[in-house]
């Protein structure tokens, strides 16, 4: 049984039927990419999984139990955390306070302290800046903070919405290196939504390609990489 199992999910974003029957699964400890052009329904799929958009139809199962229709705060408690699109750092909170908010739903004080250590070891920049306001960080640092904040929930599944967006290539590779490290060391499964197919396929084990709310291609990243042209034809002429 996979950690996350999405079956025939349908969901709307505003008046738009953005997701029209998506099925995907994320195995325990795996890295899965969800690719597609702008407006393909990637973000809405993630929003439905983390509870901020209510599905119209279909099932979302975590460990075989339905989490569809639960509130975001209940879903975070079950071990699914989100790194939102555009980082969404709390600008007027310090770096440390941002991290504390990632751990809001936890009560295990001692291990929360350990997890600050984990995040700071992963992103030493954040430790240097822990007393600074989130709004004062650079784009790359904000992405690190957004990932750190997600990790503070001690998730088994971390959802990442466009983590490479607007970042320089060197920063992108640092960030993905950190993500692979988390996956390897902590066994955290990652579901990464990306427009940057190149980066995503290099890091993920399995990938799905969405187009207009449906999955049109799926397979191990290796295979999709070999078939790059097919993938890119669905992604729009971006790369």
């Amino acid at each position: 049984m996979a950690l996350l199992e999405v079956e025939n999910l349908e969901a709307s974003y505003g008046a738009v039927r953005a997701v029209r029957g998506v099925s995907l699964s994320v195995a325990e400890g795996s890295i899965v990419a969800l690719l597609g052009a702008n407006g393909a329904g990637k973000s809405t799929t993630l929003k439905a999984i983390c509870g901020s958009v209510r599905p119209n139809a279909g099932r979302i199962m975590l460990d075989g139990k339905s989490i569809g229709g639960l509130s975001p705060n209940q879903i975070v408690k079950r071990g699914v955390a989100l790194v939102p699109e555009g980082r969404k750092i709390f600008k007027d909170l310090t770096v440390r306070e941002n991290l504390a908010m990632g751990a809001y739903s936890r009560a295990d004080k001692a291990s929360i302290e350990d997890d600050y250590r984990v995040v700071f070891d992963l992103f030493p920049r954040l430790e240097e800046r822990q007393r600074q306001l989130g709004g004062s960080l650079s784009g790359g640092e904000q992405q690190m903070l957004a990932i750190g904040r997600g990790l503070m929930a001690r998730p088994r599944l971390l959802l990442l919405d466009e983590p490479s967006l607007g970042l320089a290539p060197i920063i992108i590779s640092n960030i993905f290196e950190a993500l692979r490290h988390i996956n390897r060391e902590r066994g955290t499964a990652l579901l990464i939504v990306e427009q940057n197919a190149h980066v995503a396929l290099r890091n993920a084990g399995f990938a799905y390609v969405l187009q207009v709310g449906r999955i049109v291609v799926e397979g191990p990243s290796e295979e999709l990489r070999a078939d790059k042209e097919i993938v890119e034809s669905y992604m729009g002429a971006r790369h």
């Binding site: 983390c50 901020s52 509130s71 975001p72 705060n73 879903i75 975070v76 408690k77 955390a81 989100l82 939102p84 969404k88 709390f90 600008k91 007027d92 909170l93 306070e97 504390a100 908010m101 990632g102 809001y104 739903s105 904040r149 929930a153």
Partner: protein, 289 residues
């Protein structure tokens, strides 16, 4: 004369700050301009009389009871009135608090009468000399209370999980929700804090203003004006605004005549909104609300 007027102005201003800060705290987490904030304090003052006179409790037994009742009143208003309409536009929310204002006025008048009542604890006017300026002891006591409450709020917002979460909700409620922060609970907490501040505003102003259903009407407006000084978002801005209003109206009252006192607060807001419409420090809503 100037020093004396300024000092007692600061003391009154620090009591206005209790209302101003409550207006800010509620507004920035809920988009609600709470017109009933003054009435929360008025109810607290009446409850103070009930506990002190009818139940013959001493002040420090009465205080926690009034605080708890006042916080409950805030929570009750949130649950029964504001939550069901939380997703509507600001004008609906604003009008609902006007409804609460009239209901609380009515309830107080019905339960305790419309006459002005003396508060059992009187304002201590005995002068004390501080740095060559004479100040009433009562004013010093009030300033000490306001300072203590300010310190409690500071510690709460800076060092407690719920306090930081309240700031996170101010910053970005959508993201706060995604991070697993129960935003509804935080909003409830916000109204409880409004009640907490109202308890002190009511009990500390009662000996000065005496107690009646309309006792807080002017203070509410001054508190609101002070909140606007901080752009409705900044707590330090609201406190500074409240202190400025307290001092300015006292100076105007002392030098120009008592009838200029209240007009001063209004003159200040007209000037402020003309020249600095985003608040004294330009700290304004950075996002559309």
């Amino acid at each position: 004369m100037f020093g004396q007027l300024a000092m007692s102005g600061l003391a009154t201003g620090s009591l206005y700050a209790l209302t101003a800060v409550a207006v800010v705290v509620v507004f920035r987490n809920t988009r609600v301009i709470n017109l009933a904030q003054g009435d929360f304090a008025m109810i607290a003052a009446f409850l103070g009389i009930v506990f002190l006179k009818d139940f013959q409790l001493n002040y420090f037994l009465m205080l926690p009871l009034v605080i708890v009742c006042s916080m409950l009143l805030g929570v009750l208003v949130e649950r029964l009135v504001m939550r069901p309409i939380a997703d509507t536009d600001w004008l609906t929310l604003f009008t609902a608090t006007l409804g609460v204002y009239y209901i609380l006025h009515g309830v107080a008048g019905w339960a305790w009468g419309r006459d002005t009542k003396a508060f059992p604890v009187t304002f201590d006017a005995k002068p004390v000399s501080i740095l060559g300026t004479l100040v009433s002891e009562g004013h010093l006591v009030n300033m000490a209370w306001a300072l203590g409450i300010g310190l409690i709020l500071f510690l709460f917002f800076k060092y407690t999980k719920q306090g930081i979460a309240m700031r996170a909700v101010t910053d970005d409620p959508e993201t706060a929700k995604l991070m697993g922060i129960p935003v509804r609970f935080i909003v409830m907490l916000t109204w409880a804090m409004a009640g907490f501040l109202a308890a002190f505003a009511g009990l500390l102003l009662a000996p000065i203003l005496y107690v009646s259903p309309g006792m807080m009407d002017e203070v509410l407006i001054k508190g609101y004006v002070a909140a606007v000084f901080g752009g409705l978002y900044s707590i330090p801005g609201a406190i500074l605004g409240a202190l400025m209003i307290g001092v300015a109206e006292n100076l105007a009252g002392g030098y120009l005549g008592a009838h200029f006192k209240t007009a001063t607060a209004f003159a200040m807001i007209v000037l402020l909104l003309t020249f600095r419409p985003k608040g004294l420090f330009g700290i304004q809503a950075r996002r559309e609300i």
